[in-house]
């Protein structure tokens, strides 16, 4: 069981900054995120895109903002449960919560801060009638253990970075790699596109474009896929394969959090914006893009503000007996849980002769 003061769900900018504000109050944080890396949308969707409305940064790349936040919170030593989705919540008699992930990891905390953005990222599934039937029977949406595909034949569909990168990787692992895409053009890093072309010329990747998978065949396990070339049913053909891996990117879904008994409006969690961004369940807060209130704006800078107020409220809840006055970091410095201390250099007091 992982124990912490504030359990944050979502490692996007709002969740990460909450660690900093909590740290100033000597509260420890642990973050759960369904993605394998911190940063949320910024890391997953647009790491190379500039953001222009972060106060004090005329321009910052989304990926750099994440790196900066990670650096800023480092001394507060947040724990991470990455690649797992928060699934169930249980309220204990003392008012604290246990949150379990889809992988069974349990977290215990008196305060929950949902900073889930648009939700957890789930694979986009192509519209193929019997796709669901073959899930885990030859159809995979994510590659967790590449060894599974050793000496197996694999058909990958998609035209983005993940389709390109996994085709390249599996070319050395699988017995056969076929990459199917609806267009002749791929959207990805230049070196990935070039590498796929090289591997194609070497005969290590079979490229079929423009084409798409329209049907799956097999009984207990996938045996083959039906590929339609040029959008023309006359050109349909069957290709035997052990695995079919559709890689059409990820799309966010609110997911299991929607069933936690929280008040939901417009696909977001209603919170009290007059005070502390608490939800209808005391002890559970929602901050950043995942919440809604009158006048809500889904901006990173608003998420930072919400995280800050949420931490103050969380402190009061955890330490109802303590008096507290907010201290400026310029005055109090930043003392990490790792023993480091950052503070403003003392001014020299010296007479001039």
């Amino acid at each position: 069981m992982i124990k912490t003061d504030i359990l944050i769900i979502g490692a996007g900018p709002t969740g990460l900054f909450a660690v900093f504000e909590a740290g100033l109050l000597k509260l420890k944080c642990h973050i759960i995120d369904a993605l394998p890396q911190p940063g949320g949308q910024l890391a997953e969707l647009y790491p190379k895109k500039p953001i222009y409305d972060i106060p004090g940064f005329p321009e910052v790349l989304a990926g750099d903002l994440v790196d900066n936040l990670m650096e800023q919170i480092k001394s507060f030593q947040p724990g991470f449960t990455l690649g797992e989705k928060a699934e169930t919540i249980e309220k204990l008699e003392d008012g604290s919560f246990i949150v379990s992930t889809d992988a069974g990891t349990k977290h215990h905390a008196p305060i929950i801060a949902i900073a889930g953005g648009l939700g957890s990222f789930e694979p986009r599934k192509p519209k193929i009638d019997n796709l669901a039937y073959f899930e885990k029977k030859g159809v995979e949406y994510m590659i967790k253990d590449p060894e599974k595909f050793r000496n197996q034949s694999v058909v990958i569909a998609g035209g983005g970075d993940s389709a390109l990168d996994w085709s390249i990787f599996l070319a050395d692992v699988a017995s056969e790699v076929t990459l199917v895409h609806r267009r002749n053009e791929f959207r990805g890093a230049l070196e990935s596109v070039d590498r796929v072309k090289e591997l194609k010329d070497m005969g290590k990747i079979k490229l079929i474009t423009p084409a798409e998978i329209v049907n799956l065949k097999g009984e207990d396990h996938l045996n083959s896929v039906i590929i339609r070339k040029n959008n023309n049913p006359q050109e349909d053909f069957e290709l035997p394969t052990d695995y079919f891996i559709p890689l059409f990117g990820l799309s966010p879904k609110l997911g299991p959090i929607a069933n936690w008994g929280l008040e939901i409006e417009k696909n977001a969690i209603k919170v009290d914006n007059t005070l502390d961004y608490q939800t209808n369940i005391p002890g559970i807060y929602a901050i950043g893009d995942v919440n809604t209130y009158p006048g809500k704006l889904k901006l990173i800078l608003c998420g930072f503000h919400e995280a800050t107020l949420m931490c103050q409220s969380a402190f009061q809840k955890i330490h109802p007996e303590k008096r507290y006055v907010m201290k400026y970091t310029t005055v109090g410095g930043v003392t990490g849980f790792d023993g480091t201390k950052k503070e403003a250099p003392k001014a020299v007091v010296k007479s001039i002769d």
Partner: protein, 108 residues
């Protein structure tokens, strides 16, 4: 100046709406501003042509600006794509859109 657009929502209901040409708006934003699709089901990526939640079918004969590479690439990976599919976020509201008729594609 405003233009009048007809937007057919995901339930098949037609809406005639006024869209401003001087607010740097795109079609996805117009749909959101009139709440013709539930929040969170349209414009998920914010308008970067990185999701297809604002996909729509252009039903009138308006000549629209060519698709950018980004839009083309996204549509090539989207589902329910038809010949007349466009991403709403990539269609900027200009005077030439007067009378445009679009239908929102189903939610993925």
């Amino acid at each position: 100046m405003d233009v009048i657009l007809t937007i057919i929502d995901r339930d098949g209901v037609e809406h005639r709406v006024e869209a401003p040409t001087d607010m740097a708006m795109n079609l996805m934003e117009v749909v959101r501003s009139y709440e013709l699709a539930p929040e969170g089901t349209i414009g998920v990526c914010g308008g970067m042509a990185m999701c297809a939640s604002c996909q729509c079918y252009v039903k009138s004969n308006h000549e629209l600006p060519e698709k950018s590479d980004d839009e083309e690439a996204m549509l090539s990976e989207a589902f329910n794509v038809e010949e007349d599919s466009r991403l709403g976020c990539q269609i900027h509201i200009t005077e030439s859109l007067e009378g445009l008729v679009v239908e929102l594609a189903p939610e993925e």
